[in-house]
């Protein structure tokens, strides 16, 4: 048995049947990380002590013959924007270089309570701002499918870790595509749930109305398992919805026959790489052959999504990142003359180029005289984009589209052109603005053997439907 290649489902079964111990499984991952991660760069911290003690706890339970929790002994990695008590959490930024959080974020706590073993913290773009992981203050991540290429971002470490068997599953965050885009680039499954489905408590904030926590996994069933564990109301996040969490494991087994699938031409326009188009179109054919009804829909405002997104996201970021002032936690610049000098130097030395660019753009969009023209305008367009989805979902149960217009690009290719980098998110930001769930699943490879991802969007809180379609596709493939 290749221990590090196991899915969540296989790993938990092997542990429950006492074929392997949680301790041995964790050790296999530590060894694999030590051997392979130097060329990938997925991990920022390996939390051996925390992982070993959790694994020992699970093995003790197993020995005593007690019923094991649902994710007992499953080794997972956590994106470094999700805080972990006692384990250094930097959000990929120098300004939090020595930050050791005093509490756990809710999603991590729920995973551990369900028996998962936290292997460590995964590399990401600084404050989750980026589409290539090249904005990490610490080191780049290399795509396991082709080391000269980016893994996508901002959850690049999470996607690479799952793709390279350095974790069975990972948690990421998605503000404009940061789970789905790297999942697509690395050939794994990535799920952004509905806004409000999963608590954001303990997620270091980037843009609070767009931030989501979700899983990156090897299979759709694994994504369903993780979502089921982390979803649901949390009193610590007032935006987490107090709605029943369905049993996603039984949801995915329901038939997909006669589900109505929408295809929007706006997602198949100029700039879509031909192999990606072919792969997604043939996936749509597969849904048709599974008995789904394929219907044309229109999302006419799609081309305005990127400009609206970059105004809303940066405005919220400029406000959220005001807390990094060198006073209460994090880096403080030395040799300063006054308080105001300290703020400025701390922030200038602590933040990287892309973070400063977004703070500047967001501050400008919110400043007197420009608020109506930029921020308010973008919020109005956000309404139009959301209405597009509402109108389409009156006719269909799900909408399919490519996750990204191109496969993974080369490291360094877009670092000098922020606008070109932003356009990598063109198919993903709409779901964040509307708050609808989206999943990216692998649907083949380009001629250069690079993974291609297809996205399935669903209605608010109907993750069950998109997981069901993803699962049916995977089984038919």
């Amino acid at each position: 048995m290749d221990l590090t290649a196991l899915t969540i489902d296989a790993a938990r079964t092997a542990i429950a049947e006492r074929k392997i111990t949680a301790g041995a499984l964790a050790e296999a991952f530590f060894a694999k990380i030590e051997k392979d991660d130097p060329r990938i760069g997925a991990y920022l911290v390996v939390s051996k002590e925390r992982a070993s003690s959790k694994a020992a706890e699970i093995d003790k339970l197993a020995e005593s013959g007690e019923k094991l929790p649902p994710l007992a002994g499953v080794p997972v990695g956590i994106k470094d924007v999700l805080i972990t008590r006692g384990v250094r959490t930097t959000a990929g930024s120098k300004i939090l270089g020595n930050y050791v959080p005093p509490y756990d974020c809710t999603a991590v706590r729920r995973l551990e309570e369900a028996g998962a073993v936290v292997l460590g913290k995964l590399n990401c773009d600084e404050f989750a701002m980026g589409s290539s992981n090249e904005n990490s203050a610490w080191k780049p991540v290399h795509n396991p499918c082709d080391l000269s290429r980016v893994p996508g971002g901002s959850s690049g470490g999470s996607a690479a870790a799952v793709a390279a068997d350095l974790a069975v599953a990972a948690l990421g965050s998605d503000t404009g595509g940061s789970i789905r885009q790297p999942a697509s680039f690395c050939g794994v499954v990535g799920l952004k749930p509905t806004y409000g489905r999963v608590s954001r408590y303990g997620l270091i904030a980037f843009a609070s109305s767009l931030d989501h926590v979700g899983p990156l996994t090897k299979t759709v069933k694994d994504a369903a398992l993780v979502l089921h564990t982390i979803a649901g109301r949390d009193p610590m996040d007032s935006t987490s919805a107090d709605l029943t969490v369905p049993d996603y494991l039984s949801e995915i087994e329901k038939p997909v026959k006669s589900l109505r699938i929408g295809v929007a031409k706006e997602y198949f326009g100029e700039g879509l790489e031909p192999d990606t188009r072919r792969a997604v179109e043939s996936a749509i054919q597969r849904f048709a052959s599974l008995g789904c009804e394929v219907i044309d829909v229109s999302l006419p405002h799609t081309k305005y999504a990127i400009p609206a997104y970059y105004l809303v996201a940066t405005a919220e970021a400029s406000s959220n990142l005001a807390r990094f002032d060198g006073v209460r936690y994090g880096y403080r610049a030395p040799n300063v003359r006054s308080l105001s000098d300290m703020y400025r130097r701390t922030r200038n030395q602590g933040f990287g180029g892309e973070v400063k660019r977004r703070i500047m753009l967001g501050t400008y969009a919110l400043s007197a005289g420009y608020y109506d023209a930029y921020y308010l305008k973008a919020q109005r367009v956000r309404t139009l984009l959301t209405r597009d989805f509402e109108a389409a979902f009156a006719k269909v149960d799900a909408i399919v589209a490519p996750t990204t217009p191109t496969p993974a690009f080369k490291l360094g290719e877009k670092v000098d052109d922020p606008l070109a980098m932003y356009l990598a998110d063109i198919y993903t930001v709409t779901a964040n603005l509307a708050g609808i769930p989206g999943i990216s699943i692998p649907v083949g490879k380009t001629r250069e053997a690079l993974p291609i991802g297809m996205q399935i969007f669903g209605k608010h809180f109907e993750e069950g439907t998109i997981l069901r379609l993803g699962h049916a596709y995977e089984r038919a493939a």
Partner: protein, 113 residues
């Protein structure tokens, strides 16, 4: 050009960022290129469109969901969570760069001439 040198100075002051000369030049170029792209939003007449600040206000707008759990949630009354226990001070301050007992020590606030 949407923004000039003086705008970069004004906005970096608002944002408490002290940019180097090189950074300022690059920021000027990048902001102008992004703002020019963002101007495509002006093709849309949004005079009658309400701004959307957050997602949950849209959970219940689809009429087909009236009477559903989701609709009820979107139109519910406020929930009072009450007070929660907070961290002990030493735990909350453990990451401070320059603590002084129960205080955060900071450089001089006012510079006398």
């Amino acid at each position: 050009m949407r923004v000039g040198e003086e705008d970069v100075t004004y906005v970096s002051d608002l944002a408490n960022l002290e940019l180097s000369e090189e950074e300022r030049g690059r920021m000027l170029r990048d902001l102008n290129s992004i703002l020019e792209y963002v101007d495509t939003l002006n093709e849309l007449d949004t005079g009658d469109v309400a701004p959307m600040a957050q997602v949950s206000e849209r959970y219940g707008v689809d009429n087909s969901k009236q009477g559903s759990e989701r609709f009820a949630y979107a139109t519910r009354s406020d929930i009072h969570e009450g007070l929660r226990k907070s961290f002990p001070r030493d735990v909350a301050m453990a990451n401070a760069p320059d603590p002084d007992g129960p205080f955060f020590r900071v450089p001089k606030v006012i510079d006398r001439p």
